[in-house]
């Protein structure tokens, strides 16, 4: 029994904040893409070749089409608000089905962030809130155990993502000889003029060594997050890694979704520390404004 104890432990405070962040980030994503709903629909190779009506399970991911994409978007808005303020098993299930459908409409504009959020939403279906546990009364322990394993699965899925990404890199020649970062940053689509015009001026070790460090970091992310001593520094490194992806590579939503997903590894006191830091910054900014006579 004890061997599974670490699997069945979770903090409800962290889970609640994580859920709200997931739903809020998706809401923000869809609000900022309202103007391109029509463009979301490109019947991709996957759906054409396999066919959507082979079985009930495959049909589940082919619900919207060009004519009802807007309906799917509106349903998603309503479900996001419901989940944000008062989530239930049914709303979470409906949310996942619609989210998975919208994300499978146009595979060409998707990134890893969309993909991960869709998978996380599946595990979130089984994450019951304290309010739901109270309703279950004497059977609440059953739902508590299900919630705990779904939290563990989310964590495992995130670690798996980095592990597979690291392993994929390690097997590629371009990463083995350390030139992958150079080639990623030479592509104007994933770089900035300031970066790709000055790549020749960067000292060789600074251009080569990060490639190897990224592989090691991604493969060993799981063990690094397991120990409390290395956890904080790993989470800070992850934040900076995705900040680089956001600013230099221009994959904004990928970075936002990844930052949101990392919060499942946070501990209660991290949120308090972040809150304190933000409050300190706010006070400092206000005092600076007052000093300059703005307020």
């Amino acid at each position: 029994m004890r061997i599974f104890d670490f699997v069945f432990q979770y903090d409800d405070y962290v889970l609640t904040i994580f859920k709200k962040l997931v739903y809020f980030s998706c809401f923000f994503y869809f609000i900022s893409h309202l103007h391109m709903i029509e463009k979301f629909y490109i019947e991709d190779a996957l759906h054409v070749s396999i066919g959507c009506k082979n079985s009930f399970l495959s049909y589940l991911s082919c619900l919207p089409n060009r004519s009802n994409t807007l309906v799917a978007f509106v349903a998603l808005f309503i479900l996001t608000l419901l989940n944000f303020f008062r989530d239930t098993f049914v709303t979470r299930l409906a949310y996942w089905v619609i989210l998975m459908n919208i994300f499978s409409l146009n595979i060409y504009i998707l990134d890893g962030g969309n993909n991960l959020i869709s998978l996380i939403s599946f595990f979130l279906i089984f994450s019951f809130s304290q309010r739901e546990l109270k309703v279950a009364k004497k059977y609440s322990w059953i739902f508590q155990e299900i919630t705990a394993i779904s939290v563990f699965n989310i964590k495992f899925q995130i670690v798996l993502l980095y592990f597979i990404a690291g392993l994929g890199k390690a097997t590629e020649k371009i990463w083995q000889n350390g030139t992958a970062l150079y080639y990623s940053l030479t592509n104007p689509e994933y770089s900035l003029p300031l970066v790709f015009n000055n790549l020749g001026k960067i000292p060789l070790p600074l251009l080569i060594l990060p490639s190897y460090l990224i592989i090691i970091f991604q493969i060993f992310l799981g063990p690094l997050l397991l120990f409390r001593d290395t956890k904080i520094i790993t989470l800070v490194m992850l934040f900076l890694f995705h900040l680089f992806i956001f600013i230099v590579m221009g994959l904004g939503y990928f970075a936002i979704f990844m930052w949101v997903s990392h919060t499942i590894f946070y501990e209660k006191n991290y949120f308090f520390k972040i809150q304190d830091t933000l409050r300190c910054i706010e006070v400092k900014l206000k005092s600076n404004f007052r000093g300059k006579g703005y307020v």
Binding site: M36, I42, A45, L46, L57, N153, I164, K169, N187
Partner: protein, 188 residues
């Protein structure tokens, strides 16, 4: 005492069941994520197709960043110059990193990728699904080219479309001021 024992026993059974379910999910996921192998092809058609639809995941991003930049270029009716359909949005994306410009860029870029898939498809064996896919891709790219010309107040009845392949400069040429070292245009 008996109730406590029953509680512990049921909790134990529940935990084992949940762990086994999670283990099965991640075991199938591991097979799904592995490179092609006999086990994968055996399981393939039975289970993995569902994973493709519902639990689709692909995490090898940037494992091969590639050394070619592909653009869809079009020439509207009565025009002599080619237009790079994603050039304007790419330059906007490089100036402003805030969303959703990035996604708009990938949306515009998706048409180049679809056209590229169409070209690679033409090199494969032709069967029924080939014709279905090829006509679908062709329709998407044509309607996009038409809308790009209409946006500029032009028509696309006898216009042309092509893919521009630009090879990125090699690592050994990183001091060079040219971003690309060779060009190739393939008409669609």
């Amino acid at each position: 005492m008996r109730t406590i024992l029953i509680y512990h026993k049921s909790r134990y059974i529940l935990r084992i069941t949940l762990v086994l379910l999670s283990f099965s999910y991640f075991f199938i996921m591991a097979i799904y994520l592995l490179p092609a192998n006999p086990l994968k092809s055996y399981v393939g058609n039975r289970i993995l197709n569902h994973f493709d639809h519902i639990f689709y995941q692909k995490w090898d991003f940037f494992s091969n960043p590639g050394n070619v930049h592909i653009s869809l270029i079009i020439r509207c009716d009565n025009q002599t110059d080619w237009i790079d359909t994603s050039a304007a949005i790419l330059s906007e994306h490089q100036k402003k990193r805030l969303p959703p410009i990035g996604k708009n860029l990938y949306n515009e870029r998706s048409y180049a990728l679809i056209a590229n898939s169409m070209l690679s498809l033409r090199q494969q064996e032709k069967n029924q699904s080939y014709f279905k896919l090829e006509s679908k891709y062709s329709e998407i790219v044509s309607s996009f080219s038409k809308s790009e010309c209409t946006k500029r107040g032009l028509t696309f009845d006898s216009g042309e479309k092509a893919l521009l392949y630009r090879k990125l400069r090699k690592f050994s040429e990183r001091q060079s001021s040219n971003m690309f070292n060779s060009y190739e245009v393939i008409k669609l």
